[in-house]
């Protein structure tokens, strides 16, 4: 029953769950959730150093850099140029820390603040530029199959459609588009990785995405903002495994009418009424 690893470019991962580090009430809680989730890859954002933390603490003081591969994002960027600059800045920091995450980026080029939906044109431009600079680009995008295909053709290491808007907790709103994305990306290249990024609200959303045939799920808010984050982190780990195994096992077809599970022969003779 052993599964093959998830291969994202030069990165080979046993866990198919990627978790974010944002929105935690404390660094202790974050650490605990990262541990429980079983994830090997964790996302971070690049922001101005403001010495926000009065004690001068930095998130990097709370992350075991020998254990986790950091995936820096370009969240907060609304044009290709800014996203490219942020990607370079993230790489610079991770190179200095000798973390294997220095060679990749989670590209987000957003269209507006209300939806946080990606700007597909700018995302494509940034993907092309970053691929040229040697980045392995993991691309946050919509569930539009044509855009997904264009991003793959531009050299994206993984295409990562949103199940629903970031942080919305609505789950996978359009499974048919996700199915078409999977077909278009994997049709002639079955090992090409597609990850559901954003929108997950609960463990069943993760299991559902994995059952559709997605290679992994990336989430943050669903754990960090749960009432009991560590319990949810564990649920997400199990859901990811369960969904993956269910997908690999091959589900039964859906039928309109019942099919008995118990033998239909050898039943005792019916009582007369």
């Amino acid at each position: 029953m052993s599964d093959k690893p998830l291969v994202l470019g030069t990165h080979t991962l046993q866990s198919r769950l990627v978790v974010g580090t944002g929105k935690y009430s404390t660094f202790d809680m974050m650490q605990q959730c990262l541990e429980v989730s079983g994830s090997e890859v964790i996302t971070v954002a690049v922001r101005r150093e403001r010495l926000i933390d009065a004690e001068g603490r930095n998130i990097l003081d709370f992350i075991d850099l020998s254990k986790y591969t950091i995936l820096p994002n370009t969240a907060g960027c609304f044009n290709a140029e800014d996203a490219i600059r942020v990607a370079r800045l993230g790489r610079e920091i991770l190179e200095g820390l000798e973390n294997p995450g220095a060679d990749w980026v989670k590209l987000e080029v957003l269209g507006d603040t209300k939806t946080l939906l990606p700007d597909p044109v700018a995302t494509l431009q940034a993907t092309e530029a970053l691929v040229k600079e040697g980045f392995q680009v993991l691309c946050y995008t919509t569930d539009d199959p044509i855009t997904a295909k264009r991003l793959k053709d531009a050299g994206a290491t993984s295409v990562m459609p949103a199940g629903s808007p970031i942080g919305s907790g609505q789950g996978v709103l359009n499974p048919n588009n996700i199915r078409i994305c999977l077909e278009y990306l994997k049709g002639d290249d079955p090992d090409y990785p597609m990850i559901i990024d954003a929108g997950v609200g609960s463990a069943s959303d993760v299991a559902f995405a994995m059952e559709l045939g997605c290679d992994g799920v990336l989430l943050n808010t669903a754990i960090a903002s749960a009432t009991e984050p560590a319990t949810m982190a564990e649920a997400m780990k199990h859901a990811c495994l369960a969904g993956r195994q269910s997908f690999r096992a091959g589900r039964i077809p859906k039928k309109l009418y019942a099919t008995a599970s118990s033998p239909e022969t050898g039943v005792i003779s019916p009582s007369l009424r």
């Binding site: 974010g20 944002g22 101005r48 150093e49 403001r50 950091i70 820096p72 200095g96 943050n220």
Partner: protein, 66 residues
């Protein structure tokens, strides 16, 4: 001379380098990346990169994010 760090005006001594500035700001060089006038200055060049009047710097680090 005056420079701008993350949109805040700041006085630094003439001849200061990026490395000097990071020390002055009390930042751990390993945890930050620096852009000068929209151009990334790799850590290896911080000690030799002298600041010039009106330079605009971005000093960033990693924070929690999804």
């Amino acid at each position: 001379m005056q420079i701008t760090v993350n949109d805040e005006a700041r006085e630094v001594a003439a001849g200061s380098t990026i490395a000097d500035l990071l020390v002055e700001l009390g930042m751990r060089p390993k945890f930050v990346a620096v852009e000068r006038n929209l151009e990334l200055i790799p850590r290896a060049r911080h000690a030799e990169c002298e600041l010039v009047e009106n330079d605009k710097l971005e000093v960033v680090t990693l924070v929690g994010g999804g």
